[in-house]
Amino acid sequence: MRYLPHTDTDRKAMLDAIGVASMDALFTDVPEAARLDGLIDLPKKQGELQVERAMAALSAKNISASSAPFFVGAGAYKHHIPSTVDHLIQRSEFLTAYTPYQPEISQGTLQTLFEFQTQVAQLTGMDVANASMYDGSTACAEAVMMAARVTRRMKGVLAGNVHPHYVEATKTLAKYSDVSIEVTEPGPGGLDALIAAIDEETACVVVQTPDVFGQLHDLRAISEAAHAKGALVIAAFTEVVSLGLVEAPGAMGADIAVGEGQSIGVGLNFGGPYVGLFACKDDRRFIRQMPGRLAGETVDADGRRGYVLTLSTREQHIRRDKATSNICTNAGLCSLAFTIHMTLLGEMGLTQLARINHETACDLADALGAIEGVDVINGAFFNEFAVRLPRPAAEVVDQLAKVGVLGGVPASRLFPGQFEDVLLVAATETNTLDDIAIFAKALAGVL
């Protein structure tokens, strides 16, 4: 087997050095009834060529985003990733390193995490950020639990327009804790119901902007209302590119910002791995209650600047059953990809990218809105919006796929039994005017 260096001569010599006659002698602690005779019933080893062929055949059964006019969003977005990003994250030193437990030989990972934390804090308008979470949905869930610890209150209120997968992930994490989760009715409209739901027991409110329908929200009123009752505001987002054009959660009063960073550097990957962003205000109560890894600056024995993982007394390997979370790893390599892509963009590139996304979405809204029977629901949006169709959106999407157009997500896929006539569509810098024209024509054709 090409990945295994030993020859049988090596193995024999090593068994002799150990002082046993055979490999079986090293497995005698296994109960006899559980010792397998022979091999497990699965195919045997194959060469690189054969495996690559088998996997390529599976890959070929899928229609990739780049091979069709593509307008699918709702939590994951198709963006162009500069070639430099993938080259750099495949550097052996980044790809095949472990969590930086030995900082003296992990400064590459640690410094990039420090840069990542700073970028995330700047994007969200927050003071500090952690070294990433699994994804946006789990970051959202962890934020609600953190708010409960900080406020010592046991109710989290989520806006109904938060991505349903984020809501469900939060409910799952809270399910057997003391924290109860309330969700307001989803649908178009403002945040009045959410404001009304805040009371003296509320630990936090979670608002997504742009929300799952693409609608943008001003968080200032909800922040004022929540703070007046002693509750924290958690701002969630699924499209991080929006922060290049839309006001930052931190500037609108949010205390914690969580979201998905996939758009920058990571790619669609059929849903994972992605990179969860987690940032908060600089408040000692907050930082001590944050989940996940944190990189921090320090000096070495010569006084030279360096970085280490820090504040680990929050974490499971030290605190065990009293840890802030059971989280061990972060999204390491995805956070590196995010940082590299963001460094290539810089403020100028990000602002421009965000603007192009918005303009493309405006073009799409105009094209779809011009189709008879199609209504654009949103008043304000970034690069994603909802349209009302004269027919069930799920059928429409399947018919569009048959003519080679990936035309968005039926809202009913996320809200079963609801919003059957609502279609969620996203546009990014990867969409051309031709794509939009093909989509509009195909949509008019199937309605």
Binding site: S67, Q122, R305, D321
Partner: protein, 524 residues
């Protein structure tokens, strides 16, 4: 300092403040390039991308245009390349050398896996595309699930957990849901050996359980008498790593499983150490009810400096109905994804995260499995166990194995051999860095004093192991010979000397912050 007397200008203070060396003007030394932060290199006016000019369409943002400062520096493409390549060279990596972190399974990462993960049908598909356009992706999930179930001898697997700890959460939630469904909600006590990974007790608490620690016996395994004494009608289950964190197979595992089942509880197995038995022993034959599988350990998806991982969790017949959504089903030759609790035939405990799991890890792990096959995977377990035993056998005369007898895939030493030398486990580990090795896992498991847990994995050659063993032998002898100062100063050959972790925690600096002087620099 002495530099000015040598008649050359000094940038010493500036160099060390940004992580460079003090004894060169540039702060670099040969191939070791000093590299400040992007915040000290780039500017908000620089970019490494060329995008088309926006058209100037009127904004439809509802008046929510960003007014707060971003302040993100950009770098041109060549500068970006150099920045991150320079930083990469300050990292140790499995591709550079042996990485013997116990419990972490740092094995070779085949590049075919990377190539496959980047195929457009996997990397460039959206999780919410119509099912008809992603049949191959559903099939990958289904096929990987088949391999995992077959290798573990378990009837079901939840594919969506995103890491080992997330898989633990999945398994313990399934146990909790099952207990609730059976009217056994009063069962809240989970037995956890004191040698367990920290994630185990943290996870149990996250599921509303309380932890009760069981001590280890003199052989490094579960103390059976103490275990039996803790059984009762409030016990929800046990969380046990097998092979355990001392690198030993729990000989009484079947009895443990039987007893916990008789007591009305369930057996969660932490699968972190599955690499030792893959292809040789099926956890299902040991009485396991739930076990997560770290695809980034046993099945070699890259660790990436701390993730992403993946933690599919196999479940027994009793727990299978409670598996979380989503999951794939195969009906009439077509794959479908069950995404909502209401669409499920079972009683899912919920959803763990957005979308369908770590696809990018699934494709890599499946590629790894197809490459090895059943015969190759068995050889993986054999060689992993052989290598650890070889290290233990060849070092036991200078170092002190924590327990007697052979081990599984990792060799555990304690610090008795350093007694009265003034050298600690930490010093010993840092001295390994000077010898060009990543240290082993230190001070874990907690049941062993000054623990050193060495997991070589199967992808190390005999000659590589011999060099490693010779190095550790020489270090142990040097410690005993009184070369204490050398250990305490270590590392001296790494990109930095020993870093002050206490200072980092006491005066947390968690981000770069603009100051007047560095703002001016950035503007230059």
């Amino acid at each position: 300092m002495g530099m000015n007397t040598q008649g050359r200008p000094t940038r010493m203070a500036e160099n060390i403040a940004t992580g460079g060396y003090a004894d060169t003007t540039s702060g670099s030394r040969g191939l070791e390039q000093a590299e400040p932060l992007i915040y000290e290199r780039g500017s908000t006016e620089q970019t490494g991308v060329d995008l088309p000019e926006p058209k100037g369409t009127a904004l439809r943002l509802g008046g929510l245009e960003r007014k707060s400062v971003l302040g993100l520096p950009g770098l041109s493409e060549p500068e970006t390349m150099r920045h991150y390549v320079r930083l990469s060279r300050k990292n140790y990596a499995i591709d550079l050398g042996l990485y013997p972190l116990g419990s972490c399974t740092m094995k070779h990462n085949p590049r075919l896996n990377e190539k496959v993960a980047r195929m457009p049908g996997f990397a460039d598909v959206h999780p919410l595309q119509p099912a008809s356009t992603v049949q191959g992706a559903y099939e990958v999930i289904d096929l990987l699930a088949h391999w995992l179930k077959t290798l573990t001898g378990m009837p079901a697997v939840a594919m969506s957990p995103k890491a080992g700890a997330h898989g633990e959460f999945c398994g313990m939630m399934a146990i909790r849901a099952k207990l609730d469904a059976d009217g056994q909600s009063h069962r809240r006590r989970v037995l956890v050996p004191e040698s367990a990974h920290g994630t185990n007790p943290a996870t149990a608490v996250q599921c509303g359980f309380v932890c009760d620690e069981i001590p280890a016996d003199a052989t490094g395994r579960v103390d059976m008498e103490a275990f039996k004494a803790k059984l009762g009608d409030d016990v929800a289950g046990i969380m046990l790593t097998n092979p355990n964190t001392c690198g030993l197979f729990e000989r009484d595992i079947r009895e443990i499983a039987d007893l916990i089942h008789e007591a009305g509880g369930y057996f969660y197995c932490d699968g972190a150490n599955f690499n030792a038995i893959v292809g040789r022993v099926r956890p299902g034959d040991l009485g396991v009810d739930a076990m997560h599988i770290n695809l980034h350990k046993t099945f070699s998806t890259p660790h990436g400096g701390g993730g992403p991982g993946a933690g599919p969790t196999v479940l027994s017949e009793a727990l299978a109905p409670f598996a979380p959504v989503p999951y794939t089903v195969h009906r009439n030759g077509v794959f479908e994804m069950v995404e909502h609790e209401g669409q499920s035939d079972g009683q899912p405990f919920g959803r763990m995260a957005a979308f369908h799991g770590q696809m990018g890890m699934f494709t890599r792990a499946l590629t790894y499995m197809l490459s090895h096959g059943s015969d190759g995977l068995k050889q993986v377990a054999d060689d992993a166990v052989l290598n650890a035993n070889y290290i233990q056998a060849r070092l036991k005369h200078v170092m002190t194995p924590a327990f007697e007898g052979t081990c599984m895939h990792e060799a555990l030493f304690d610090d008795r051999f350093l007694k009265d030398t003034g050298v600690t486990t930490l010093d010993f580990a840092k001295a390994m860095i000077d010898e060009g090795y990543h240290p082993m896992t230190m001070y874990f498991p907690l049941v062993v004093h000054g623990a050193m847990l060495i997991e070589p994995t199967e992808t190390e050659s005999k000659s590589g192991l011999d060099r490693f063993i010779d190095t550790l032998e020489a270090l142990a002898e040097a410690a005993k010979a009184g070369e204490t100062a050398r250990f305490q100063a270590a590392p001296v050959h790494a990109p930095t000397k020993r870093l002050d972790e206490t200072r980092a925690a006491r005066q947390p600096v968690l981000r770069w912050t603009p100051t007047e002087s560095n703002e001016m620099e950035a503007a230059e």
